[in-house]
Amino acid sequence: MAFIPHTEADVAAMLAAIGVAGIENLFDEIPPDLRVKSLAGMPHELNEMEIGRLMTERARADGVPLTFIGAGAYEHHIPAAVWAITTRGEFYSAYTPYQAEASQGTLQLIYEFQTMIARLTGMEVANASMYDGASATAEAALMAVRANRKSKSARILVPTTLHPHYRQVAVTTAANQGLKFEELPFCTAEGVTPAASLARYDGQDITALVIQQPNFFGHLEDVDALTDWAHARAILVIAVVNPTALSLLKPPGQWGSRGADIAVGEGQPLGVPLCSGGPYFGFMTTRMEHVRQMPGRIVGRTLDVAGGAGFTLTLQAREQHIRRAKATSNICTNQGLLVTAATIYMALMGPQGLARTAAAAHARTRELVAALTRVPGVRLAFSGPYFHEAVLQLDRPVAPVLKSLSSRGILGGLDLSGYFPELGHALLVCATETKTAADIDRYHASLGEVMQAARAA
């Protein structure tokens, strides 16, 4: 019996102690007509060797193509130490650290994580994680509604340059509570949100403004101007940021003259493998003044009865298990193990390693853009600065081009036509530090051939 250690003798002794004839008797409170007749739709049990072989075959079938897709999930080098330690049983198989004295490992690690994330974002306080960057953004909007006591409207301004999936998740998550997400147009020349375009909201009751930096196109928003515009109108600013980029870009805590109010983002670039989209983790930070509005777990340092320092979950009165219907969120289980990985990753990279990673990724992307735009029929879609990701404009539909590339083992980027039809044949590409000059050459050469073949056809 896989994973059930009972011998027949054990079962007999246990039933005798309970005083029943068989295990079936233990279910005698369940109305008989409800009992399962069969699970014939379930396959039969496999042993570990069989499932291992099946999984290995399936993994091989998927292969490892050369990937130039970013769009919110980035292929970075992950030090071997990260997952060697993260998968240690003591981290992997522990629960949420409710019994603090028996969970100091996890608790101290989260405290270190909170500190690192606060420093990276330039914010005062961080929580112990949200599900992912998109859900963190949605929760930030809900939090802003609670935190902005001056606003009654629950109107949130969201640039169209925010990752479209994030916008969708925000709508799914918050619409039932009456939040209204209003889209800000972007400048089709520069691929960013012009501060000037906000003028039409002057004088209206707006709760919060979301700013993603770099934005979905990889382009850099004028975060200072946007932030100051919002703050001048008592609008809270929610920053959505890439943690790798933060090693080079101005942190949200320093945007404009007062800094963002809430900063969130996708933690995946910090040591978490792509893995088809998850598990990742969202991070969330804010100013101390808003900490009681923040959802999610928070770890604090305190003292034990002997006066020694120790760590424990704190501010639990915000959370569902205490506050129930009045909690800041329903979140309970978060993404702890990914936080473990990210904390180890950040320690290994340090400020310099992270900055080099960002710089190398950016340099590779510039080389990629330079190479690909040498292919006839390919040009850069927007002017202005971008970071480690950019939009190319093709002279023909993107989907068939990507398909040809993929049959050569290259995933050439994300076709934007479904998301932004107004951009025509737009392709979002990204190269990180994992890509070599040879990889870029290979993509360049293949794209040249594919485009030429397409033209010839």
């Binding site: 409800l34 999984m55 998927d62 629960y95 949420t96 603090a100 599900y131 289980t333 993404q335």
Partner: protein, 492 residues
């Protein structure tokens, strides 16, 4: 237990670093296109430490934890069963880890096959008609479920239904979820036997009833015997039934939520299907629905056209409540659950509920014989049960918390304490099916020993733990004198 470990920041020295992890410096010119005003001025104050220091620090930290791999962890409502190593090993095959979430389906047929089959297996064991995998934890699944109820009622033009009924013993995520979905919560009591008070339920339902959220067995550790009647009452009032699957382990292979009349359920794959808890997550909160809610399932889903698998999106599920995550949820967790389910198979699924229940009832019986008071002594335990220490608290001034802390000294993680709130001084104890009789017997001995200590030298218990890396921590101070990030000047 090992002793305290200093903070990673205290190892930091300017200029130190695990340099072999850093890419080559592309030079300042590579960043020349980034405008100065958008640049960071001072580098982030992350620790500057070497690789060995990092490995040693986090390895030592890990040793400060209790975990399933090291200790019996009978945390009620949490289903701390063994997380098979195979699930981790095969979910972490390089090809699975390397796959980009927006990669083409042609480079994902292996993954999609697993996810599709997982959907099918979950339907089979729950008796539901549709399953979506993208919710990332139990509470996230609850959100999806209640949002579907609301979308369904809205689609029928039934706009006023905004009340969610929950029994008073419900887990905090249930009422919190109702609020997240813009609903109002109505709590109803349970009776002395732990069953829902039907009169109160009848009084609570009405034209505003969106639905009821229930776990069965409930968080009181007993099976709701009149579930058929509950379903009838709520359905007749026009409401739907939500099943909180946190306790699914109790009945796996024995009863199916779909057969009990539930319209929508979430499953905690990180409980019932043994994906790891990871010190707080990640989980996966797949949702299952009856036919009438299927059109509202969150996207993406996995579909099958002939022999090809593909993602189903807005175009396929136009009434979907929408997207819950940036991509498709916790794919890596889903792979682990898939592997677990295939390992157990049809045969193993049946055994889970049986042996989880056997272990709980055995432990329940033994603790009762040892003099501990059951909250619901007349009832069968499900996969968990409640012991109340109100007598010890009253007579000896030794609380459930004291017992919990003292258990740590005996090498056992504590059961869940003070939940559900309606039972005073309670311990909610869930052994799970993967623990042996020997372990359960040892736990009973420890409890009896602590009881003896509580009678003879109560201070040993009330000042516990004595053998952990820290003594009992001051939670009040933690909340009052907030110290949430390390500052070099802070005392450390």
């Amino acid at each position: 237990m090992p002793v305290r470990e200093q903070l990673i920041f205290e190892y930091s020295h300017a200029g130190r670093g695990a340099r072999d992890q850093w890419p080559h410096d592309p030079g300042a010119a590579a960043l020349a296109d980034l405008p100065a005003k958008l640049r960071r001025v001072r580098p982030p104050e992350l620790p500057e430490v070497g690789e060995l220091e990092t490995v040693r620090h986090f390895t030592r930290l890990s040793q400060l934890n209790f975990s399933i791999d090291t200790h019996f962890y009978p945390l009620g409502s949490c289903t701390m069963k063994y997380n098979p190593k195979a699930c981790n090993q095969y979910a972490m095959l390089p090809e699975f880890l390397a796959r980009h979430p927006l990669g083409p389906e042609s480079h994902g047929q292996g993954l999609l096959a697993c996810l599709y089959e997982l959907q099918e297996m979950l339907k089979e064991v729950t008796g539901m008609r549709g399953v979506a995998l993208s919710p990332m934890a139990g509470a996230h699944g609850e959100f999806a479920g209640v949002a579907m109820i609301r979308a369904y009622q809205r689609a029928r033009g039934d706009l006023k239904r905004n009340e969610i009924i929950v029994p008073e013993a419900a887990h905090g995520t249930n009422p919190a979820t109702a609020t997240m979905c813009g609903c109002v919560v109505r709590e109803i009591p349970v009776d002395a036997q732990g069953d829902v008070d039907l009169a109160a339920l009848r009084a609570a339902v009405g034209p505003n009833t969106a639905g009821i959220m229930l776990t069965n067995p409930s968080t009181l550790g007993v099976f709701e015997r009149r579930i058929g009647e509950v379903a009838r009452i709520v359905h007749e009032a026009g409401g739907l039934l939500y099943y909180d699957g946190a306790n699914l382990n109790a009945i796996l292979g024995k009863v199916r939520p779909g057969d009990m009349g539930f319209d929508v359920i979430h499953m905690n794959l990180h409980k019932t299907f043994s994906t790891p808890h990871g010190g707080g997550g990640p989980g996966a909160g797949a949702v299952g629905v009856s036919a009438r809610l299927a059109p509202f399932l969150p996207i993406p889903l996995v579909g099958k056209d002939g022999e090809r698998y593909r993602w189903l999106t807005e175009a396929d599920v136009p009434q979907s409540i929408g997207r819950l995550s940036a991509f498709m949820g916790n794919a890596g967790v889903l792979l682990r659950a898939y592997i677990y389910m295939r390992l157990l198979g049809r045969e193993g699924m049946q055994r889970v509920g049986e042996y989880a229940t056997l272990n709980a009832n055995y432990l329940f019986t033994r603790l009762k014989s040892a003099g501990f008071e059951a909250a619901y002594p007349q009832r069968r335990a499900s996969h968990e049960f409640i012991v109340t220490l109100k007598r010890q608290a009253r007579e000896l001034n030794v609380t459930a918390m004291d017992f919990a802390k003292r258990l740590l000294d005996y090498g056992f993680h504590a059961p869940t304490t003070y939940f559900p709130l309606l039972v005073p001084e309670c311990l909610l104890i869930e052994p799970t099916e993967t623990e042996s009789k020997d372990v359960l017997d040892a736990f009973v001995s420890a409890m009896s020993q602590i009881q003896k200590e509580a009678e003879q030298e109560p201070a040993r218990v009330t000042s516990a733990p004595h053998t952990m890396p820290v003594r009992r921590l001051d939670d009040v101070r933690a909340a009052r004198q907030l110290d949430l990030t390390w500052k070099p000047t802070a005392q450390s």
